[in-house]
Symmetry: C2
């Protein structure tokens, strides 16, 4: 059990902020990046269906094009790493079946033992208006944001800076990364690396609403 103390957790979450200027010379060590990729893969999702894909963009020319589709924001090219979090556009019965086969394989159980679970999932994806949020897109989009939250918290725990970014134009992202052709669509971006010494935001106090305005007890 490698647990963290409550104080250490809060120290990490206070340390993190949305980096505006990364140090372009500092790269995330390989072992740390591998853990962050794994953290995304291990993120929870509704039913465990993982209706997502995480595209790690390393090719500088591709990152330059994505920056153009991101209002020129420098993090897109200057951060050590860039991940595009994409949702699966349609979650189908075939996806459910593939997932059920995967459960049966990993847990070494007969597929039939999962019939009830399969039924729940197929009913859910077969009636998207009944999904939380009322549509397939809203539902899968929400799941992707869980993975984003896991990624950002994991990075902070490792002492790696990050910046979540919604400020980009999805259509060119989908085009540049060939996502639509594979049944995916860009939802949100995270850049990761190390804050630049010249990022004025690094030293500013974090702004949050008062605890009692956000957390209520019933």
């Amino acid at each position: 059990m490698f647990t963290t103390s409550p104080d250490a957790l809060i120290e990490r979450l206070l340390w993190r902020y949305a980096v505006k200027k990364f140090d372009p010379a500092k790269k995330i060590p390989e072992a740390s990046w591998a853990a962050l990729e794994r953290a995304m893969v291990l993120a929870p999702s509704s039913y465990g269906l993982q209706p997502w894909r995480f595209v790690v963009v390393t090719t500088p020319a591709v990152r330059a094009r994505l920056r153009e589709a991101s209002w020129g924001q420098p993090q897109i090219t200057d951060a050590s790493h860039l991940v595009v979090f994409a949702r699966k556009v349609e979650v189908t019965v075939a996806d459910v079946d593939a997932y059920v086969r995967r459960i049966a394989e990993v847990r070494a159980v007969p597929g039939q033992s999962l019939d009830e679970y399969r039924g729940m999932m197929t009913r859910s994806v077969g009636a998207p208006a009944g999904l939380p949020g009322g549509s397939m897109e809203t539902w899968t989009r929400s799941q992707v944001y869980i993975a984003l939250g896991v990624f950002l918290t994991s990075a902070a725990m490792l002492g790696i800076d990050a910046c979540p970014m919604e400020g980009f134009v999805p259509a060119p992202y989908d085009e540049i990364l060939g996502l639509r052709a594979q049944g995916f669509a860009a939802v949100v971006v995270a850049t990761a690396g190390y804050r630049g010494a010249d990022d004025a935001l690094a030293s500013m106090p974090k702004v949050r609403a008062r605890h009692e305005d956000v957390v209520r007890r019933v």
Copy 2:
């Protein structure tokens, strides 16, 4: 710097799972719960607007009613703690202004220095069709899922079990917790505590898609 090692992070994320049966006798220590509440408050959100509220339900009678609105799932009453993650139904210019005042206060800067930032936010919330996801609801809902991801990762780091739950009927939740009257709506639930010795799922291998099917490099 209380950073975690890559191995420790992964050990924690492998340890966590969506608990089906909590040990109803085991309660989360006060300091740990305080840290988890603070982790939610510190979660990042678009522009830092925090369009959310976190309702910690402690009253047993209220939890019993919520369980009825959650297909009877036992985690709702048996977990040490229950949080309902709610979205703000409408984010208005008044919310933006309150946030700008809060930034000015916390950072001790003149409000006018934030005019450009304020303009970006008011344009965003004033044209919800242009928000990521195309509507106010989808956008605020997504932000709430970031907080959920932060909460679940934070709990795992502290060695506290949790179960994220979408399986509930939102309307009675809003009614029971008086959320709508305050301009909020229930989005997703997290229960937290300690896994029961009789939770068969605890010992089952975690099922995830193959790394190479989920993480792509470009």
